[in-house]
């Protein structure tokens, strides 16, 4: 019976998401809240995640719950499309997945970001992810001397 119950989540910007309890249970954070307080028809606030990101996270949770019959191949294709997103979206997603504690989703996004590091130059990585270069010229030269093999 528990699986038919609904749970309401409230995003940081106030939007309400009414979802199946089973979908929500994929988030361990929400699972703990439900176990601890067992709020009947209460609204669970998710203050760290905005509506846009939360809807995307819930899309993932629904897919990975409902399609238990889907074979592995199909999942990996769906997952690949799911993380084929812009960097800021990936960032929002991983922060949300971390806050909501959904390990498979964290893994998926980490895989994606790791693949974006592969074969890139440090300059390109800084550009893609908007990272400041906090090395001095001397430190950079020193690094290239020591690890020149990595830049060939």
């Amino acid at each position: 019976m528990a699986f038919t119950k609904k749970v309401t989540l409230k995003s940081s910007d106030g939007e309400l998401f009414i979802i199946d309890r089973a979908v929500a249970l994929q988030s361990r954070t929400i699972q703990y809240v439900l176990e601890d307080t067992n709020p009947v028809d209460a609204i669970i606030p998710v203050p760290a995640v905005d509506a846009r990101t939360l809807s995307k996270v819930l899309e993932y949770c629904k897919k990975h719950l409902i399609d238990l019959n889907t074979d592995f191949e199909d999942y990996s294709k769906w997952d690949k499309d799911f993380v084929d997103a812009e960097v800021w979206m990936l960032y929002d997603l991983i922060m949300a997945a971390d806050y909501l504690h959904i390990p498979p989703l964290i893994d998926l996004i980490c895989d994606k970001i790791a693949s974006m590091f592969k074969g890139q130059t440090p300059d390109k990585i800084r550009e893609i992810f908007n990272i400041d270069n906090d090395f001095s010229k001397e430190e950079e030269e020193d690094f290239k001397k020591k690890s020149g093999w990595a830049f060939k």
Partner: protein, 329 residues
């Protein structure tokens, strides 16, 4: 909607744990090294990754073909010849083989790269394919091996075929030929199998030898290791228990510091013929505290502990220790 996001450093908000998790999925040693040039934060986290794939670049100049074995089959000869070249790369002193400007052998290259990663538990080394592998060329033959090692060889499995076709359709011609020799191997055929066996064992122990050198240089706490070549002909595997066995070395290491006259200004003492000795089993040195940590805690809580601590510190500062290794202790 996008603009407000573009201003941020996308990793600022990410915890070290998450960023480390991302790095542990990169695997490729070269990419990881490049990542450590991105920012100081990246540089501080990358040495902590636990899984690395090390792809050894192909040699630029080919070493001399010093040895030539004739097995009566040009393919096999070629293969063994290449294998010997590969061995040369491992065995020869640094000056005689040039990789890229400053790297000597595969061993030195690996050690140099692995110095950047102190926390690896899972290592995968991939050699360049040296082009002479059977089955790697279009002739349709196949040779694969997989070996497991602890301290010594534990097992080696070899799979070979003089004809191998990657297709569902079974070609009739080779099948008919095989029927003729179904029951027994002709001498030449047997020779070929022996050559296969020797070359696979050769390649396996060469890799094990390389591994021991790498481990000796880098006190890594590996739990799993795979060494294979680019064309995936052969694979050496080691698991956690096998590493334990490899480390089970009866040898102990003795370090001895000697300072003829030592003044200890802080505690107002003087020592003559001051001697400090640290005795530890070699395998302990890999996983336990460093000498520094060990010495800091030594003689704590004793009378005059202050003077002893100062003496230990000063002696270690003063000069390098004499090193002794003892086996069968």
């Amino acid at each position: 909607m996008k603009l407000d996001h573009n201003e941020d450093d996308h990793f600022d908000g990410l915890s070290d744990e998450l960023l480390s998790l991302i790095f542990s999925k990169v695997l490729d040693a070269k990419s990881l090294c490049r990542c450590s040039a991105v920012s100081k934060r990246f540089a501080s986290l990358i040495p902590l990754v636990d899984a690395v794939l090390l792809t050894v670049p192909p040699p630029k100049s080919k070493p001399n073909r010093g040895l030539f074995l004739n097995f009566g089959n040009s393919l096999v000869t070629n293969f063994i010849d290449k294998l010997l070249q590969f061995l040369h790369q491992i065995v020869l002193p640094q000056s005689s083989v040039s990789f890229h400007s400053n790297e000597g052998s595969i061993h030195q290259f690996s050690s140099q790269v692995l110095k950047n990663f102190s926390h690896i538990t899972s290592l995968h080394i991939q050699f360049p394919s040296h082009g002479g592998e059977l089955g790697a060329n279009g002739t349709g033959s196949l040779l694969k091996w997989e070996a497991e090692f602890g301290r010594e060889l534990e097992s080696c499995v070899v799979l070979g075929a003089t004809y191998f076709q990657r297709s569902n359709k079974i070609s009739r011609i080779p099948k008919r030929q095989d029927r003729v020799h179904e029951s027994s191997l002709a001498t030449d055929e047997l020779k070929l199998r022996v050559a296969w066996m020797i070359s696979c064992l050769f390649a396996a122990s060469a890799r094990h030898c390389l591994l021991k050198q790498i481990i000796a240089d880098n006190p890594l706490m590996l739990r799993s290791l795979v060494i294979e070549d680019g064309s995936k002909q052969g694979r050496l595997r080691m698991g956690e228990d096998q590493f334990k066995e490899l480390r089970k070395s009866p040898a102990i290491c003795i370090k001895l510091w000697y300072v003829p006259l030592l003044e200890l200004p802080a505690s107002g003492c003087v020592m003559k013929g001051a001697t400090l000795i640290v005795i530890r089993p070699l395998n302990q040195m890999m996983k336990m505290k460093s000498d520094g940590d060990l010495l800091v805690g030594a003689f704590d809580g004793e009378e005059e502990a202050e003077a002893f601590c100062e003496a230990v510190k000063e002696i270690v500062k003063e000069k390098k220790p004499y090193l002794m290794e003892m086996n069968s202790f």
